[in-house]
Symmetry: D2
Subunit: 157 residues, 4 copies
Amino acid sequence: MPHTPRPAPEWEIDEWLNTEAPITISGCRGRVVAAFAFQMLCPGCVQLSIPQAAKAYRRFDPGDVMVVGLHTVFEHHAAMTKTALTAFLHEYRVPFPVGIDRPSPDQPIPATMHRYAMQGTPTLLLIDRQGHLRLQRFGHVDDLELGAMLGRLIAET
Amino acid sequence: MPHTPRPAPEWEIDEWLNTEAPITISGCRGRVVAAFAFQMLCPGCVQLSIPQAAKAYRRFDPGDVMVVGLHTVFEHHAAMTKTALTAFLHEYRVPFPVGIDRPSPDQPIPATMHRYAMQGTPTLLLIDRQGHLRLQRFGHVDDLELGAMLGRLIAET
Amino acid sequence: MPHTPRPAPEWEIDEWLNTEAPITISGCRGRVVAAFAFQMLCPGCVQLSIPQAAKAYRRFDPGDVMVVGLHTVFEHHAAMTKTALTAFLHEYRVPFPVGIDRPSPDQPIPATMHRYAMQGTPTLLLIDRQGHLRLQRFGHVDDLELGAMLGRLIAET
Amino acid sequence: MPHTPRPAPEWEIDEWLNTEAPITISGCRGRVVAAFAFQMLCPGCVQLSIPQAAKAYRRFDPGDVMVVGLHTVFEHHAAMTKTALTAFLHEYRVPFPVGIDRPSPDQPIPATMHRYAMQGTPTLLLIDRQGHLRLQRFGHVDDLELGAMLGRLIAET
């Protein structure tokens, strides 16, 4: 986890589920942000990434770590609608806020996914208390490693 | 697995995926049929039942055991459409034929699910070489137990 | 599981644990025998084979299937003594009978392991109701496959 | 993980395996120490604790975190000898140093286990860079939680 002081670009979200108020990166200043980009029909996301996010959401003090999901649909758009996502979150009992990444008018990749140049799903973003993007990782990150990175970021003041 | 010689009622399928020709119970006479009723947004189906069906599909000689999935949607109908199911089968690399249980005009339970009085998903049906329903089980069945039941049914002539 | 009508040679056991009376292959005539050869310090045995044997022991009618373990020590003899095995069976709550394969006077391979020319541990032996060796497999056998083989053998009369 | 500045008492080890030089808590000053107390015939240790320790050993920089095992035998002493432990470490490919907790002359509990008043195995000890005992936990600790605690302790200077 090299310290690259690049500010995390703000995400572009059409709508938030599982939360009453929209969540912005700038509004999380002072807290660590763990954002899990996923698709509801991505097997690796369903088996590994979403359960890990749920565990992190329950384990960490929300004053220390803000856990969110980003639904970054870049394929099968007709299948992964807001209606389908809502049913999915209900059936899988996903407890954390999920933002729907804004569809792009002219390409399959949605706006936030494009802005961060994500390679696919799942992708993990870790943002420090100052709003810097400290990790962007495509693929699954082991629990021990994720815990260690979060522990270090939490310790920064 | 008590031997109750009740004939398995024919299923009612709107459309088959992953197969060129429709599959009927009567057409499977002479073979054992293992039918896995599921919903694509049912976590227990996705984690346990569909991988088990895929394993059975690959393990047994198709001349001995016909493995099929039945998409028995009784909730979240707007989310679990044919389009969504097609994407799901593709992403999860489901190799076996899947029939879409015919929606009922006047109730949420589809036709085959209603006819068999299934309690929910996943539900397993085992039908013997003579077309008799030998097992109907709601919930997950352990691999060892499923294997033993199939082995016994295969041995019947 | 080809039907090779070779009689299963009798095993040579120094001592039985978890059973009041010694068990012989000839004494099991009329029942299927599933014998799991293992070593208490073999990781694959501990993680996969012994739990599978315990599951089979609990699942099948003892009048149909006799499940036994064979402690076939061919390495680390000073570590895998009867005293150590007894502690192991207690700590891992192994419920089925375990026979200690008779040490050979002049080689590390014990008598039964040598007689069956086993390649290592775990090794599974399946013996049919007539006392024929129907399967000998080195390495782990999937639950679904084991169940199917047992189901077929149970169905033979 | 409350900050209780109690110094971690030195352990008493009869012999070290998997390391050329003995390891002392005082000699680890400046590094975080993660000590996993286990018994080679404790199922929870074998299934969860030792694989976790091996993962931590491989994941963290040894200049940051010193991972050790402590073989704290308090039952089945005749089965869990040094000879048996050596075979176990070989078969399970345990990569980290393991110290044999010194047997007590007059009771089954060995010296270090007694000094720390451990309740059983597995038990995890986390010691910070200043040599303070920051966590003592009986039972398994989830990877995410262990990672977070180690991350925080690593960040302390």
